[in-house]
Symmetry: C2
Subunit: 315 residues, 2 copies
């Protein structure tokens, strides 16, 4: 009888839970929508429903050791307590792990989603085999997870890793966090859409003008087809990402930097600009050390990381 | 018979060596000048001379366990090898620890000076009792040392901690490192002198005009006497330091940030600007967590840190 865990990724939109074995194989997956704008109990019910589906599917074939759940929130890991959950505010201060344990009879561990993704990539993905890695997720926002000497850096408040809120332009665009010029305002999917809008006037011939409600994927597709506006947007996104990563390379000397999230689809349009900034701005030796690679686990990084700590491993 | 170590701080100008006991007390100090612009053997001789003076002074009262030496260079600590020594280029690639061991008959450990200062402050100074701390030294340049989970962050190349080369102004002043807008160009003693010069035209009444070859101390003294130019220079230095520290707070969630070096003498002129940027730019919870304090050990931080690892402790 194999040892298994349940692992989940509770996103702002989607909820996914899987039964995962000790090699990180997803033996069964259950997916649904995250109940929004209601109350925490609805979220508990949705998680319990999908978790039960997984447990039923694996039947008596495995001994389930625990349940790891990645969530978009700040967690004080000593206490397994949700401190701040901007995307799912109904979870603020809610005892999610306690409620799930009660209903599922499993020990439940919560982890910040970006840290979980870093742990997943470190276990079985792009940073596997490296002791020190930085994981940057370029999605709606910009998230980050850091592993040094083989251990996730969480900090006493569980807030470490907020790479998206490194300042890259002191008097730059106002950020939701209260600061100005955060990386998130230049290298996230939302930033790419905003920057494209700002540049429309300068590029009257851009094909983007013909697309209603364009998104970051549209901008990428036009960029690949040499649309100058879209090429410029990804150049800026890459340049600012490079500025932030240069600082991290100088300060932390990581072996590998893993870039994931939806915007990473635009890899070929931005990565050379990231590398150019690093060559210019970071010290030569750590810059040559730091491999800049694409995330390998895609949307599964969080769930695989959650499985890893459900198995009681620290990274 | 007490257990002792020798500990030294080999600066670009001064060389200081002391006999230190297990409580970090400096029992005997020997000081001299660092031989410059000659060859590495002259440096070895100078170190051996002062170390021998210390050994003679303590006589047979103590058993000397080893010799820790802080130097202004990048050291790959696994190999105790000097990789890059911009301020004392004669040490590049030189086997300093091997030569000293041969002449003194002691095991010699080298450590980067900024990391040594962080270890010293962590052992007996301003960050004592905190598991995670960041030490910033505002001197001719801006150095940094980071301790997370009680361990110094060195990185695989020994280059971690280069806080002075975080970019705080993407198109800013050219830095010796090849980048633009590094913190060092705004918050070091040299930057303070340069910024004062740039502002002279805008402040025709500044008292600084009457001081020939003014230095950072002169600018501080005039600032304390409400000279508007000098007040503005320290405001800028503090603002940029605050921008860099906000990023570090968001990324590393440290418990304490220790600020030392000559520029810290201007504390009352710049610290409120540092704090204002942190309040504005860092997330509330880690910003409230991070105490911003002055270094407690002054010029002895490096030597005390060097003693700590000569005793075989990691931090």
């Amino acid at each position: 009888m194999d040892e298994l865990v349940l692992a989940g990724d509770l996103g702002g939109t989607n909820l996914r839970i899987a039964a995962v074995d000790a090699d990180g194989r997803l033996l069964y997956r259950a997916e649904g929508e995250t109940p929004r704008h209601s109350d925490a109990c609805k979220i508990v019910d949705a998680v319990v429903c999908l978790a039960s589906e997984c447990l039923a599917a694996i039947g008596s074939d495995g001994e389930v050791r625990g349940f790891g759940l990645a969530i978009p929130a700040i967690i004080q890991s000593d206490e397994n307590r949700i401190f701040s959950s901007p995307n799912l505010p109904e979870l603020n201060g809610f005892d999610l792990s306690g409620e799930l344990t009660k209903k599922l009879g499993l020990s439940v561990t919560l982890e910040n989603d970006a840290t979980a993704a870093a742990i997943g990539e470190h276990w079985l993905g792009a940073s596997r085999g490296f002791d020190s890695s930085i994981c940057v997720t370029l999605g709606t926002g910009v998230g980050g997870g850091i592993i040094l000497n083989g251990k996730p850096v969480r900090g006493p408040d569980g807030t470490a890793g907020e790479i998206g809120h490194i300042c890259v332009e002191p008097l730059g665009v106002a950020c939701g966090c209260g600061s100005n010029g955060c990386l998130e305002q230049y290298s996230s999917a939302s930033a790419i859409v905003r920057m494209a809008g700002e540049l429309l006037k300068e590029f009257p011939d851009s094909k983007l003008r013909c697309i209603e409600n364009y998104n970051a994927s549209n901008i990428f597709e036009c960029g690949i087809a040499d649309d100058l506006l879209c090429v410029e947007v990804f150049r800026r996104a890459g340049m600012y990402l490079g500025i932030a990563l240069s600082g991290l390379i100088n300060v932390l000397n990581p072996e590998v930097i893993v870039i994931g999230g939806g915007v990473a689809e635009g890899w070929e349009l931005f990565i050379e600009h990231v590398r150019a900034e690093i060559r210019k701005r970071a010290f030569q030796q750590p810059a040559e050390r730091a491999r800049i690679v694409r995330a390998a686990l895609g949307g599964d990084a969080g769930i695989i990381g959650a499985a890893r700590f459900a198995f009681g491993k620290t990274a």
